[in-house]
């Protein structure tokens, strides 16, 4: 062998040496990393921490100048107000109904559509998929006026159904795109084999492919749920009465009177944020896990 190892390695167009900076510093590097991450964490988490603190402070501590960080009196009065005296419990219930129903609808419509786009040859499939995706290109606020006029014409203004439909319309394209990726990962041969076993095409999908899609469906549904739960623009434009309003515009509505009950705002914000956190925590495994691949050799 006339070629040494070094020559052989450097003969390639891009030598794959690790950047030397990554090796050099052990301890110093770790300190910088921790410091930067701490700064980031403080900046990101301070508003959350402040919201939680405010929600459990006595009113006089809320307005204290200078602000009290540690030595305030703890109370759960604001939380009682959220559910008892403020009328916000109706808004939270509305949010649950609207977000839940629109997520279920988007999943029921989007998953079979994604399966169809993944499995079948359709005319202009790529164009259709692009068209579906294009509905997500602009922010919702761009179309809120035309939607408002359409809703007023057909009588969907200030109704839960109106919000459910518009959120579904926004979530279906998202569901189709997310789920198409997951369906692509499941080999079509499972369905072929099931059809040879004697099942119909839809049975093959339901009994053999669908169970493998559950992690993907969970992940997609969480994203759809978070979108619907957090949505503010449509909610504030298309609803007006307290009986129909969802939580985001209702909480925003607490600000702007002559006096603002910051304790109540903070407590309702915490209550609003919790379900999403809990839900994301419960399905965290599925959020990162891909689809279980089985016995197909590729």
């Amino acid at each position: 062998m006339a070629v040494s190892v070094d020559e052989a390695v450097s003969a390639g167009p891009v030598p794959k040496h690790a950047p030397p900076t990554r090796r050099r510093s052990g301890r110093g590097r770790a300190i910088v990393e921790v410091a930067l991450l701490t700064v980031l964490a403080v900046v990101m988490l301070f508003p959350v921490l402040w919201m939680i603190e405010t929600s459990i402070k006595e009113n006089r501590d809320v307005y204290a100048v200078p602000a009290k960080f540690f030595d305030f009196d703890v109370t759960l009065d604001h939380y009682r107000d959220v559910f008892v005296s403020s009328g916000l419990s109706v808004s939270f219930l509305n949010s649950v109904i609207v977000a839940g129903a629109s997520t279920v609808l988007a999943t029921v419509l989007g998953v079979p559509a994604a399966w169809a786009y993944s499995r079948f040859t359709l005319k202009a499939k790529k164009d259709q998929l692009f068209f579906i995706l294009s509905t997500r290109f602009m922010p919702p606020v761009v179309v809120v006026i035309p939607i408002f006029l359409m809703y007023r014409y057909i009588g969907l203004i200030d109704s839960a159904l109106g919000l459910i439909l518009i959120y579904t319309a926004f979530n279906v394209p998202f569901t189709i795109w997310m789920m198409k990726g997951f369906v692509d990962e499941v080999p079509a041969e499972y369905e072929d084999a099931a059809m040879l076993d004697g099942y119909t095409r839809l049975q093959a999908f339901r009994k053999f492919t669908l169970p493998l899609l559950v992690p993907g469906i969970a992940a997609t549904a969480v994203f759809a749920l978070i979108f619907s739960w957090n949505e503010f623009v449509f909610a504030i434009f298309l609803t007006s009465s307290d009986e129909v309003r969802t939580a985001p515009p209702a909480i925003a509505g607490l600000i702007g009177g002559t006096t603002v009950d910051w304790g109540l705002v903070a407590a309702s914000s915490v209550v609003f944020a919790l379900p999403v956190l809990i839900f994301a925590y419960l399905v965290r495994k599925h959020l990162v896990a891909g689809v279980t691949l089985g016995a197909v050799r590729r």
């Binding site: 080999p187 041969e189 499972y190 072929d192 084999a193 099931a194 059809m195 040879l196 076993d197 004697g198 099942y199 119909t200 095409r201 049975q203 053999f208 169970p211 493998l212 279980t292 691949l293 089985g294 016995a295 197909v296 050799r297 590729r298």
Partner: protein
């Protein structure tokens, strides 16, 4: 009963014509092998018979009845996939039971049928495992068991042994032949391995670029290839082909060699021909009337025999010889040709000119 007949199957994927008028007639109880290189349309043919592929044209008849519009379930066929396609979340038992569950058999029937097929394939101890806990050969057996658990019209097998290692493949070849004999059922078996085709088949259909090149018994396909391409594809080492033309009672090679013209050829003088010679019909050890001058180009010892590469003019002939033969590259020698077993093809169309006289 189980006859499968495909007529004029046509199917294109975009610009690729996968099937270009494939016609096959599989008699009841046959071990029918569809042989061809990858991309020849073998799998598409099988999927079309199974009803998994929508055809552009053509018809599929099962037991004489037109089944072209039937769903896969209605066709009453079983298929073994190259990838096995075992359901990942189910145990081997449930995988094998699936065709019976789909047909709503009672659980006692299912248990009996799964036990029977499990002992046939020696996989009793694997039944409670999931596909991920099985080796390739075990998955292959489970996939086979899922097909064999029923008595369908016919069994379709898509390169079932391709993913196995050589030893297992040889073992399963014998086993499949045994199963076929004991069931007496119709097998349509797709492979790109000519050894599988020649050793297992009652009938072979050779496929190339979506067209059937030849249908016949393994012996027919090997001994009387319909065209130059089949001759080159079937047989190992591959047949040696020499450009030549007929001149009176001689065949004259492009490199100047001459051989006596075989009695059986009908080709007129001057027509461009290809002479096909199989390794076992050539010899460097025996003397005969017909021989070609050449020189040793290389030796391939294969254990039970040695293949001698002999250069004749600009072409290389593969010659089968004793395993003990020796030779040094460049050594001059004579290759004796068994002209009665030689093949002649029209150089333009590739079609065989040998058929008539034999």
């Amino acid at each position: 009963m189980g006859t499968v007949a495909a007529h004029g199957l046509r199917k294109s994927f975009g610009k690729v014509q996968a099937l270009d008028g494939v016609t096959l007639d599989v008699p009841n109880g046959a071990f029918f092998v569809v042989l061809g290189p990858s991309g020849a349309g073998k799998t598409t043919t099988l999927r079309a018979i199974a009803g998994l592929e929508k055809l552009d044209a053509g018809s599929v008849r099962l037991d004489g009845r037109d089944a072209t519009a039937d769903t896969p379930a209605e066709r009453d066929l079983a298929m073994v996939f190259q990838s096995y396609a075992l359901y990942p979340r189910r145990t081997a038992y449930e995988n094998i039971a699936s065709p019976l569950r789909a047909r709503r058999s009672s659980s006692s029937e299912i248990a009996a049928a799964v036990d029977r097929v499990a002992s046939l394939l020696h996989i009793e101890r694997l039944l409670q495992r999931r596909p991920a806990q099985l080796s390739g050969g075990e998955m292959q057996r489970v996939a086979l068991a899922r097909a064999l658990v029923r008595s369908p019209r016919a069994f379709l097998m898509d390169e079932p042994l391709t993913n196995l290692d050589l030893k297992l493949r040889v073992e399963m070849r014998t086993e499949l032949t045994r199963i076929h004999r004991s069931l007496g059922a119709t097998f349509v078996y797709v492979t790109n391995d000519q050894v599988e085709a020649l050793s297992m088949a009652d009938q072979v259909a050779v496929l190339k670029e979506g067209k059937v090149q030849q249908v016949g018994t393994p012996t027919e396909v090997y001994e009387r290839p319909a065209n130059q391409w089949v001759a080159g594809f079937v047989g190992s080492p591959p047949i040696s082909l020499l450009a030549c033309h007929a001149e009176g009672d001689r065949l004259v090679g492009a490199d100047g060699w001459t051989l006596p013209r075989p009695r059986w050829t009908t080709a007129e003088d001057g027509r461009a021909l290809m002479l096909g010679l199989r390794a076992e019909d050539l010899s460097v050890e025996q003397r005969g009337d017909a021989s070609l001058p050449g020189e040793v180009y290389g030796l391939e010892p294969l254990g039970d025999r040695t293949v001698v590469d002999v250069r004749v003019g600009t072409e290389i002939l593969k010659v089968k010889a004793r395993p003990t033969i020796t030779g040094t590259p460049g050594e001059r020698l004579q290759v004796t040709v068994d002209l009665d077993r030689a093949h002649l093809f029209d150089a333009g169309t590739g079609l065989s000119l040998s058929q008539a006289g034999r």
